[in-house]
């Protein structure tokens, strides 16, 4: 497939660009933060996105979605990154849907239409430690009656606070570090023994910490195969990693554009600071790096349909490169803005904080670089 957007994809991107710039710009995130909004994102905005088909972009048509595929989902995530739009798009519309598409018929019937219509929010509960490492899962699920009993904790659950359900990676056999013996369960918010609290991170987005104390679920809460859920989990995570990469690309592009505008306007020593070669060469280098991210992200998105066996490699490449360049873009943006870049009143700091979080979530540079090195035989 050519590494260019087709006409339909360009239209989707332009629609997303227009809608988000109007309805969910950085000012909207600032407002949610300043109001200490309990959810951290806007339900009414999410419902509007549902009406445009975005929440069901990966949901099959028979369950109320538009089944558009990953390239479209990535374009929306990228535009959300440009505007720092707070929404459960990556957690619910991308990751949860990917998991549930592999569920049984009843699970699909039960959950997918609600996601497509914007009513249901589902988050992925995977991490337990300070670094992303899904094989280290220890939260246990043991056979109990006709179902399973879950005990343990999950942290930094993206959009997990007040979600209608969590898809939980649990250990059903083996021990921490084993890829075998991990299974996925869907656990509803009201389940007895489940408690969750919101974790406030620097990017003002929704994260939860969840405690599981003898949480009993029925046998049909299992998604996929018992003990053999790691491959499905990886597929879900690869979708999330690529979504975050696309979001970071959008955030990098926007902070770069703002910075170029600024150095063309700002005058010191009687001239525009953008005329200084010291800044020009750094800007040109950053431009080049962002071009590489664009290619890596588009290819990773295309691979889900084109070469699914390579999607993990594509996701690792995109997440690593977008994270590395995102951090560079944010650092350069603040530095080139000078003092004003350090103020809360100016938007650049929001980009720096969101990129910092996004590059850490679901695997940072070192995590993804290591995966690629293993794939490449070293």
């Amino acid at each position: 497939m050519a590494l260019v957007l087709n006409e339909e994809e360009q239209m989707l991107r332009d629609a997303a660009k227009g809608f988000l710039a109007e309805k969910a710009p950085v000012a909207a995130l600032r407002k949610l933060r300043d109001a200490d909004d309990p959810l951290g994102w806007s339900r009414s905005l999410w419902e509007e996105m549902a009406q445009m088909g975005w929440t069901g972009i990966l949901v099959p048509e028979e369950y109320g979605g538009i089944d558009y595929g990953m390239v479209g989902a990535g374009l929306i995530a990228q535009e959300m990154g440009r505007n720092l739009t707070a929404s459960p798009f990556i957690s619910t519309a991308m990751m949860a849907v990917t998991a549930l598409r592999e569920g049984n018929e009843e699970q699909k019937q039960k959950w997918l239409p609600g996601i497509a219509s914007g009513k249901t929010i589902i988050a992925l509960a995977v991490d337990e430690g300070v670094k992303h490492d899904p094989a280290q899962t220890t939260l246990s699920a043991k056979a109990h009656g006709n179902g399973y009993r879950l005990n343990g904790e999950k942290s930094y659950i993206i959009d997990g606070f007040d979600a209608d359900a969590l898809i939980v990676a649990a250990r059903t056999s083996g021990e921490a570090g084993d890829e075998a013996g991990i299974s996925l369960f869907i656990v509803e918010k009201e389940a007895a023994g489940l408690s969750s609290t919101r974790t406030k991170l620097l990017d003002s987005r929704n994260y939860a910490h969840a405690d599981f104390k003898d949480v009993d679920v029925a046998g049909d809460a299992l998604i996929g195969t018992l003990d053999d859920g790691f491959a499905l989990l990886e597929r879900v995570l690869n979708v999330g990693r690529t979504g975050l990469a696309a979001e970071m690309l959008g955030a990098s592009e926007q902070s770069f554009d703002m910075t170029m505008d600024y150095i063309k306007e700002r005058k010191q020593f009687g001239t525009h600071v953008g005329a200084f070669q010291g800044l020009q060469h750094r800007a040109a280098h950053l431009y080049s790096e962002i071009e590489l991210v664009k290619s890596a992200v588009l290819k990773a998105l295309q691979m889900f349909a084109e070469a699914p066996q390579m999607a993990g490699a594509g996701a690792a490449l995109a997440k690593a490169k977008a994270g590395e360049v995102g951090v560079l873009a944010a650092n350069e943006a603040v530095q080139m803005h000078g003092g004003i870049g350090m103020t809360d009143e100016y938007d650049i700091g929001f980009y720096m904080k969101r990129i910092r979080a996004a590059q850490e979530l679901l695997g940072d540079y070192a995590f993804n670089a290591n995966r690629l090195a293993v794939l490449r035989g070293f």
């Binding site: 170029m260 060469h281 040109a284 080049s288 590489l292 290619s295 490449r376 035989g377 070293f378």
Partner: protein, 396 residues
């Protein structure tokens, strides 16, 4: 089967039939590369046969029009040809400045007669071209070149000196930038002209580089007579052609940076061969491993960027000044890759003579890469171009 599937099947069968076994072995050194031309000494009969067969099909220049000897393939077909050649590890049949640089310029600016006359022998590898651009006083500031070209009525007469002319001593013809108007502002008095290196008054002198090799020459022109029909495009408008051609040269030099497409052998595996692994099968030197992974990530993302830009060019968005980005990033990346290969081979990478090192093939290649970010416009010049022409930053 759709058309592309049919094309793939046919291509695979043709390559299987026509690519000699010897031409599917990895090149041992740059001496195995085929450059063609009047005086080229083929390393073996198979090399000659492979060039003749590919040249006859026009597949040395797959996307050039058939009427000028090219393959007439569209972009998708050209990609298939490339991947099928890679699948059987077929060597490139021809390395050629004619194909990479002069051809695209002639296709855009040449007259119909010039295209018909010059392009087919390039495709067949019969004429080897060199590029007369830089002068002792015109390096990064190329437009200040001084080689004089005077109108003598029925012919032009060229006098001056070029430097860093790649393989001038082995080439048959030269495409050359000359000053045709000394009064005009420097960009407006330059013309683009072609002539035979056997013409009277042309002489070359190889320059020995830090690698011990001499890929470049000083080239001298002393009252060289050149027919008037050899001028390409409009008199005094040669700078436009020069810039256009430089975008192709930059894309070509940048291309080296991807080195070993993803799927080919990684520089990490080269390091594993040299240094061994730990119990988990990972490169034993963990600090070096991290650097190698970083270079692999950038290498793959860069290759995808080359691919994307070509796809975008086909879709109507020209590469334009973005070739400066490819040139800058690709050459800097290539230097990094060679530093890492030197580190991976340790003391052995320092060997300069002897069979074990093939007379220092790696360190000489490593030294050669240092020119990548100088030739065709330095990295700093590329960054200036990106700043001004893409980012629109103000002039200082």
């Amino acid at each position: 089967m759709n058309d592309l599937d049919t094309f793939r099947a046919d291509t695979r069968a043709w390559l299987e039939e026509n690519c000699p076994a010897e031409m599917r072995k990895p090149m041992r050194s740059e001496d195995d590369a085929c450059w063609g031309g009047r005086n080229f000494k083929f390393s073996c009969d198979e090399q000659k046969l492979w060039l003749e067969r590919m040249g006859a099909k026009g597949w040395t220049a797959p996307e050039w029009p058939k009427e000028y000897g090219g393959g007439g393939l569209n972009r998708e077909e050209a990609k298939i040809l490339k991947s099928e050649m890679a699948a059987i590890k077929a060597r490139s049949p021809l390395m050629s400045f004619g194909i990479w640089m002069l051809g695209p310029a002639l296709l855009k600016y040449g007259s119909e007669e010039q295209k018909k006359h010059y392009l087919p022998p390039i495709v067949r590898g019969e004429i080897r071209w060199c590029q007369g651009y830089s002068e002792p006083g015109a390096g990064s500031d190329l437009a200040s070149l001084q080689t004089r070209c005077e109108d003598k009525g029925d012919h032009y007469e060229i006098t001056g000196q070029k430097i860093w002319t790649s393989y001038a001593d082995k080439s048959d013809w030269i495409f050359c930038l000359v000053r045709t108007d000394r009064e005009a502002p420097k960009h407006n008095g330059i013309s683009f002209i072609l002539f035979d290196m056997q013409s009277e008054g042309v002489s070359t002198k190889p320059i020995t580089l830090i690698s011990g090799r001499s890929p470049f020459c000083e080239t001298f022109f002393d009252q060289v007579k050149v027919p008037k029909e050899n001028l390409v495009g409009t008199l005094n408008k040669g700078w436009d052609i020069a810039k256009y051609l430089l975008t192709h040269e930059r894309a070509m030099i940048g291309d080296s940076g991807g080195g070993g497409a993803f799927g080919g052998r990684s520089i990490g595996q080269i390091a594993v061969d040299s240094l061994g692994t730990d119990a988990q099968g990972r490169l034993a030197d963990s600090a070096l491993r991290a650097d190698l992974a970083r270079a692999e990530i950038d290498g793959w993302a860069f290759l995808l960027t080359m691919e994307r830009m070509k796809d975008e060019a086909k879709a109507g968005q020209g590469i334009g000044a973005r070739s400066s980005m490819l040139k800058y990033y690709g050459t800097e990346l290539n230097k990094r890759r060679f530093e890492l290969m030197m580190a991976s081979k340790g003391h052995a990478a320092l060997e300069w003579e002897g069979d074990a090192s093939q007379d220092g093939a790696l360190p000489r290649a490593w030294l050669r890469t240092k020119a990548n970010s100088i030739e065709g416009g330095t990295s700093e010049v590329q960054l200036n171009i990106i700043s001004k022409r893409i980012l629109g930053l103000p002039a200082s």
